[in-house]
Amino acid sequence: MTAPQVISLRRVLIVEDDVPGQRRLCGLLGTIVGEGLVTAIAGSVADARSAANAGTFDIALVDIGLPDGNGVELIAWLQARHPQMACLVITAWGDGDTVLAALRAGAVGYLLKDRDDAELSHALQNIQRGGAPIDPFVARRILSMLPGALPVAKPEVASDLLSGRERQILGLVAHGHNNRQIAELTGLSRFTIEDYTKRIYRKLAVGSRAAAVFEAHARGLLR
């Protein structure tokens, strides 16, 4: 088992149009990181792009609903232009489709704004340690994309993409167990489980990129 990849929260680009939301994230980050925190705040996609081009950031926290565009597209753009920058999507409520789209665009995780400060802080610390949050709705959406989940739907993810262990973990999450409980059930450490989660996300992103390449080939865009 490789050690989880640590993500630094020192230089943070916050893309959020709601001022209390901006303040809240800054406050939480300040509590976690303490001295040396550098934050840049962008209220729109355009601001975020110029900020990303102007400075260097460890991570971007991207809200979905922005005045001039969609956070998912911004994440895809950031992944293409600034691949060294990790992206987290911020969403108010757990909407499986949105989170999944962000993950496939390359986000390493997500934050749920409707959680209490303590939970959010907990989640950010997890991310900092290399973990990745996951909720039942996201797990169910991923499972439903696997072959055999729905007989009619075209599988969006190749069956051999996820390992048995990864599927097991997704299943446990879908049934409402949190990472601590899964760790108890499987005998794995919480960090290992979060690493699995992260790998699942990465595979989704790779899978979606592979699918895009395949599609481009099929349409004759690439030779």
């Binding site: 709601d18 209390p20 939301g21 303040r23 108010a92 939970e119 409402g176 949190n178």
Partner: protein, 617 residues
């Protein structure tokens, strides 16, 4: 003069009629003199008196063609009989005269046919009866002179002659008239009527050629029967033409019958049928252009026609006996029995039997009735089949319609349900994006206000409880499958596990046998709210280290238990109006009773059992 005998006659009727005729003859008690010998002499068409010489003795009935094979014209027959007294009239019966005649008694003309030269009258169709008295009638020797006009080809001559009391002679005449003429007239009318009925049937339904062939056969044979009742050669210009066409009708009628029988058996014999029609066509051509030739060849052709006539029914009878189908057997019977009558008529034709009449044709109506019964039965069977088919078709259409409407109903219900789900999801999305976003933003604004401003703790709590409740609403609605409690519970579990973890409280959940628990969405929401409120209380007030949540289906009820190891409270002194009241009222709404087991220092144990049926709203 008679053309050819024919099939399908009912033998027993024939016998009956003969018996009747015999009985009628026997009732004539008075002595009747039957003249069986005469003198005959031939003369030309226009002679008004018989020649003086050349008389030869003949026996009656006489066919002069045996004696004078090529004589077309007039033959005079002379008879004498003795009359004891002339005061009473005398009846005279000429059994059969072929073809036209004039009758003289003692030199006086007592009868003359309308046409004594071609086209000749056709007096042969019925007997002739006259009454003679003085002065024509004399005491002593009386002379009867019959002038017969005829053609050698058509069995010309004279039958026997009866003389006697008018009453006795008339009854003999009447019996012959009835059998030879009257019955045949009826018979023919019957044929034509039946033929027309089936012809019309066929015209309206051309595909059923069976009826067409039956009509053709019946009408042609009816036309052939015209020979037996026609008093003149009309519509033909001569006896030769009349007789030739009569033969055509006979042949065509027989061939049509053969085709009818073939079709009845569901068969086609193209070559044989073609040969038969070719023969018919040849006869018709001959009749049209050389009618006299047919008269000459009449006897040579007769065996072919007769063979044909026997071959057709006999073939069918053989086939019917092999197949043993009731319909065919009845038809075979109609054809079989009359063959006996045919034999009689054939023998009469060749003068083996010197009977007065051809009898077969009078049996025709009965045969025809039999055949009509068979055809009508077949028609009725077809109609029944159609009715049955219609009935089945209607039943099938009805059931298909019922299935279709059931399917449409289901689809409609499904579409309606989907539309409701869609509308609910839209509503949830709106809540989520608008109200939910504002709520979260408001909480963040209060908690992370400008530095130095203390947040109003109560307002934050209220907003958070609103937020949590909204969360539950969204959660249950998103899992919009009616009654699905498990998925929202799992989401609740996950969320609260994280929250408890963050608060440093260990949470243990047990969700068991909930898959089959069915609740309307509103009640699912109430169950979830109950648990969430209990957990909120535990998180805020219990100071517990460990919380157990246990939700399980027990078949009749859903059992919900929340237990913590916190400080507990004194239930008797605990002020009303807090979370406990709300929990109790939620339990009541679900038809359950809230059971609280707590005390200072020994944790809190909440329990409710929601009945799975008859939940009161």
């Amino acid at each position: 003069m008679r053309a050819f005998p024919r099939a399908h006659r009912v033998a027993w009727l024939l016998l009956l009629l003969l018996i009747c005729a015999g009985a009628a003859a026997r009732t004539a008690t008075a002595p009747v003199l039957t003249l069986r010998t005469a003198e005959a002499v031939a003369s030309d068409w226009n002679a008004v008196t018989p020649p003086e010489t050349g008389w030869v003795p003949v026996k009656l009935p006489d066919d002069w063609s045996h004696r004078w094979p090529r004589h077309d014209g007039v033959v005079w027959y002379r008879f004498t009989w003795q009359q004891a007294q002339a005061s009473q009239p005398v009846g005279l019966l000429l059994n059969q005269v072929t073809l036209a005649d004039a009758v003289y008694v003692n030199g006086s003309l007592i009868h003359r046919d309308p046409r004594l030269v071609e086209p000749l009258s056709r007096s042969w169709i019925k007997p002739q009866y006259f009454v003679v008295d003085a002065p024509t009638l004399r005491v002593g020797t009386n002379t009867l002179l019959v002038r017969v006009s005829g053609l050698a080809n058509y069995q010309p001559g004279l039958g026997v002659i009866s003389v006697g009391a008018p009453r006795a002679v008339y009854s003999e005449y009447h019996a012959g008239w009835l059998i030879r003429y009257q019955l045949r007239l009826y018979n023919q009318a019957f044929f034509l009527a039946m033929g027309v009925v089936f012809l019309v049937l066929w015209l309206f339904r051309r595909r059923d050629t069976l009826y067409g062939w039956f009509a053709a056969s019946t009408l042609l044979i009816g036309a052939w029967d015209w020979n037996n009742v026609a008093p003149s050669t009309w519509p033909f210009a001569s006896t030769d033409a009349f007789q030739s066409w009569n033969m055509v009708f006979y042949v065509a009628g027989t061939v049509a019958l053969a085709v009818f029988l073939l079709r009845f058996c569901g068969k086609r014999w193209p070559r044989i049928e073609a040969a038969l029609w070719a023969y018919t066509g040849a006869i018709a051509l001959c009749a049209a252009f050389a009618p006299r030739l047919l008269g000459v060849w009449r006897f040579q052709l007769a065996p072919i026609d007769i063979a044909l006539y026997f071959a057709v029914p006999l073939t069918f009878i053989g086939y019917a006996l092999r197949k043993r189908q009731p319909e065919m057997l009845i038809l075979a019977l109609c054809l079989a029995l009359p063959l006996l009558a045919i034999v009689h008529d054939v023998l009469r034709f060749f003068e083996v039997i010197r009977d007065r009449a051809y009898v077969a044709s009078i049996t025709a109506p009965f045969t025809l009735i039999g055949m009509s019964v068979v055809l009508a039965h077949r028609f009725a069977a077809a109609m029944r089949q159609i009715e049955d088919f219609n009935y089945q078709l209607r039943a099938r259409v009805d059931s298909a319609t019922a299935r279709l409407s059931a399917t449409l109903g289901r689809e409609h219900a499904l579409a309606l349900a989907n539309a409701q789900i869609g509308a609910r999801l839209d509503l949830v999305r709106d809540l989520h994006d608008g109200f939910g976003g504002s709520l979260v933003s408001a909480i963040a604004a209060l908690e992370h206000g400008p530095a130095g401003v203390n947040p109003d703790a109560h307002a934050v709590e209220t907003l958070k409880s609103l937020r949590d409740d909204l969360h539950l609403v969204i959660n249950t609605t998103t899992h919009a499958v009616a009654g699905d409690l498990l998925k929202p519970l799992e989401s609740l579990k996950h969320r609260w596990s994280d929250r408890m973890d963050a608060a440093g409280i260990a949470s243990h959940w047990r969700l068991a046998d909930i898959d089959r628990v069915q609740f309307p969405p509103g009640q699912s929401l109430d169950v979830l709210r109950f648990i969430q409120e209990a957990l909120t209380n535990a998180l805020k007030h219990s100071e517990a280290e460990c919380v157990h949540v246990d939700v399980r289906g027990t078949g009749a009820a859903l059992c919900v238990e929340i237990r913590d190891d916190g400080c507990g409270f004194d239930a008797s002194s605990h002020p009303k109006g807090t979370g406990l009241t709300s929990l109790a009222s939620r339990a009541r709404r679900l038809g359950a009773k809230l059971v609280i087991d707590t005390g200072p220092g020994r944790g809190t144990h909440l329990r409710m059992d929601v009945p799975l049926a008859g939940v009161c709203e």
